[in-house]
């Protein structure tokens, strides 16, 4: 009896361990099913509470309907963009990638290209005039390497800043600044009126702060603009960059909240949404927050105005889009190309704009009346942005990813005066060099 009990215990232990370790893998590979339909497994972080979730779900539904019996997309939901990037990086390591990847703001395209795992779309795009017309010059730059098109964008990144009209009125400011001198004069005026001028942050790559920084660099001179257009720059120790960092240092020292130092985007946003600060640099995706009563007061949206940056600058660049990875089955690759084409079509871009206020990647997609009614602030901003004289992508989209941490770690020292602007730029250059 005792022996039997021991044997049973060991069996239970081994079975438990083995079953725990070898949970039958879900069939998440893309393949052809028994009806001859090609099933594309598509992992995405654009699910759940993600703002683009509704758009992606609708596109999947429409695609599956259109290609019923031929192709089918099966969504693999990965909540959180960090988890998504981690998953793709792990799959890059093994070379076993899903057929379609959304590059987003994570520059996954270059990582996949380094491993020669991306399908060249040039021929397909050239052969389809409707598809090709959606590529602006900027979209070609974002999605091409060495003259070959590898990806297709659906969304644009159009970023200016928002201001609180009520606080501007209180300080006697009539309209957003046209030049940087005027901008800093307005900051001073707001400060004298007892109003904190700017929402800023330093943690989590300092998204808000680096938007101000990039705008200052891009508008300093031609070299500054060239720098902003350079992919993965390694030399930050330039006169334009140093001059811009000096101004950001002034902003951090004099014109922002105490909790900006070490604070995350959420705190910066909360300071603006609660009426504590007069301005925040951010994209149109924030517009939804202005009417969200869990985040701000009922009438807050009426107080918000939108502006492009001084010296007629706006961040305007298509976000790196969808790309197809090399597959052992050419039929799966064909299906993936159809999916990318469908997901980045004019219809898809229009859907994103109408449903969620996503800025279209192509300027051939116009703001519909539906979007104007639903997102008036966005429409106003798109019109303002159309007149901007200088435009480029934001700094984070082009810098080496390790510099995101460097910025977060060094901005507090810049604010406290432990390092000066030149020291900051030298550290950035040193850390950028670690990638070579």
């Amino acid at each position: 009896m005792k022996k039997l009990l021991v044997v049973l215990l060991i069996t239970a232990m081994v079975v438990g361990m083995v079953s725990g370790c070898s949970k039958k893998a879900d069939n998440k590979k893309s393949s052809t099913n028994k009806d001859g339909e090609i099933v594309l497994n598509y992992p995405t972080f654009q699910c759940g509470v993600n703002t683009a979730a509704e758009v992606v779900a609708k596109l999947v539904e429409e695609f599956n309907e259109k290609y019923d019996g031929k192709y089918e997309i099966k969504l693999e939901e990965i909540p959180g963009d960090t988890n998504y990037v981690d998953k793709i990086k792990v799959q890059l390591g093994t070379g076993d990638l899903p057929p379609v990847i959304y590059g987003g703001g994570f520059n996954l395209l270059d990582l996949a290209l380094a491993k020669d795992l991306v399908v060249d779309l040039t021929e397909k795009v050239d052969a389809d005039s409707e598809w090709k017309d959606l590529y602006s010059e900027a979209a070609l730059t974002t999605n091409s390497r060495d003259g070959k098109i590898y990806a297709s964008s659906v969304e644009g990144s159009l970023v200016g800043y928002f201001y609180n009209k009520e606080l501007f009125d209180k300080a006697g400011i009539k309209e957003p600044a046209k030049t940087w001198d005027e901008f800093f004069a307005q900051c001073e005026t707001l400060k004298k009126a007892g109003i904190t001028p700017l929402s800023m942050d330093t943690a989590d790559s300092a998204w808000v702060t680096q938007l101000w920084l990039g705008a200052l660099v891009a508008t300093d001179n031609e070299s500054g603009l060239d720098f902003m257009k350079t992919m993965n720059p390694t030399d930050y120790n330039t006169p334009e960059m140093i001059a811009a960092v000096e101004k950001v240092q002034k902003m951090l020292k004099e014109y922002t909240t105490l909790d900006a130092i070490g604070g995350k985007y959420e705190q910066a946003a909360n300071n603006f949404l609660s009426g504590q600060t007069a301005m925040i640099a951010n994209g149109p995706w924030m517009i939804g927050d202005f009417t969200d009563e869990t985040k701000t007061t009922k009438d807050f949206a009426d107080k918000v105005g939108t502006a492009i940056y001084p010296d007629s600058f706006v961040y305007d660049a298509p976000i790196q889009g969808y790309f197809v990875t090399k597959q052992s089955d050419p039929k799966v690759e064909e299906a993936a190309i159809e999916m990318v084409k469908f997901f980045t079509s004019a219809h898809a871009q229009q859907l994103g704009l109408d449903l969620q206020g996503m800025v279209p990647a192509s300027d051939t997609v116009k703001v519909s009346d539906e979007a104007k009614d639903k997102f008036p602030l966005l429409s106003e901003f798109i019109e303002l942005a159309a007149d901007a004289e200088t435009r480029t992508d934001n700094m984070q989209a082009t810098m080496y990813s390790n510099l995101l941490d460097t910025i977060s770690q060094e901005l507090p020292r810049l604010q406290s005066g432990d390092i000066d602007a030149k020291g900051f730029c030298e550290i950035m250059s040193k850390d950028a060099a670690k990638n070579s």
């Binding site: 021991v6 361990m17 990582l111 380094a114 990813s401 770690q409 507090p412 432990d418 670690k434």
Partner: protein, 291 residues
């Protein structure tokens, strides 16, 4: 021939040993081997670089800072933190009024998740509405208020406070060990005229030496793997003021996609762990049966 009892021991141990080999030893060997390679996410294949990663690491000022921070934290944890926990255990051992209550309450911070602890201290040290600055202002010391976690002068001690004060595990383990000490030894010391302090110093502490050594090993390894509390509160900044080796490793892996270099840091952490444990075992004579 193995007797039946030994055979059963081997059979019972086998699954665990097999899992250990699979989950820990094999990856550990991979980490060690790849530390000699240029192993990056973007590289199509590995290339052997000998000691190049180690030479780069030992010449990297960021490594020097992370290494010294890690060592300082280990020293603080093994001495002051364990000392504080032991002192409290010796007080509780006297079974002063409410000792069971204190023992239980002191453990609470240790059962709160690190993520929650990090958030709590972020709020305590918040420069705008933090508890610490509010207290300072309310007692007329507003001029001392600052951004504790982001000031280069205060970030290190401020982060240390996030875990330093909570020695619940040490107290619990040392107290349980003290409670199992033969009462007659304490009685004998009293009869010989030893004061309570002398009894603690010359009778109790030597008897608790092994358990204190064990808690020092636990404290040191806790510091060698400390990541989340620092990541949540300061992210290793300002500058590299609060960066330790695990954070440096994470930066090499996540930011630079340089797995070979990250694994080199991993090897250094493992070697440090072995060295620290050997030193503590030697100093505290953890394996020595004599008192």
């Amino acid at each position: 021939m193995m007797n039946t009892k030994k055979r059963w021991i081997v059979i019972f141990l086998l699954p665990t040993v097999a899992l250990f080999l699979l989950i820990y030893l094999v990856p550990l060997l991979i980490v060690f081997v790849t530390s000699f390679f240029d192993y990056r996410l973007t590289a199509s294949e590995l290339s052997f670089v000998g000691l190049s990663n180690y030479i780069s690491l030992f010449g990297d000022p960021d490594f020097h800072k992370a290494f010294s921070n890690t060592i300082i934290w280990i020293l603080i944890q093994c001495t002051l933190h364990v000392g504080m926990g032991t002192l409290l255990a010796l007080i509780l051992y006297k079974k002063v009024r409410g000792w069971k209550f204190v023992r239980t309450v002191y453990m609470i911070p240790n059962i709160i998740s690190n993520a929650a602890m990090g958030m709590i201290f972020l709020n305590i040290f918040n420069p705008s509405y933090g508890v610490l600055n509010s207290i300072l202002k309310s007692v007329g010391l507003g001029h001392l208020a600052k951004n504790w976690l982001m000031d280069s002068a205060t970030a290190f001690p401020a982060v240390t406070l996030v875990w330093f004060l909570f020695a619940g595990y040490t107290t619990t383990l040392v107290l349980s060990s003290a409670l199992s000490v033969d009462e007659s030894l304490i009685e004998a010391a009293k009869i010989d005229g030893a004061s309570p302090v002398q009894t603690d110093l010359f009778v109790m502490l030597p008897l608790l030496r092994k358990m204190i050594g064990t808690t020092m090993v636990m404290a040191a390894t806790y510091m060698l793997q400390m990541f989340d509390l620092i990541y949540i509160t300061t992210g290793g900044g300002p500058g590299k003021a609060t960066t330790n080796l695990p954070l440096l490793l994470y930066g090499a892996y996540k930011g630079e996609n340089n797995y070979g270099y990250a694994n080199t840091i991993g090897v250094v952490i493992v070697l440090m762990g072995i060295a620290v444990m050997a030193i503590i075992n030697k100093v505290m004579k953890v394996n020595d049966d004599e008192y």
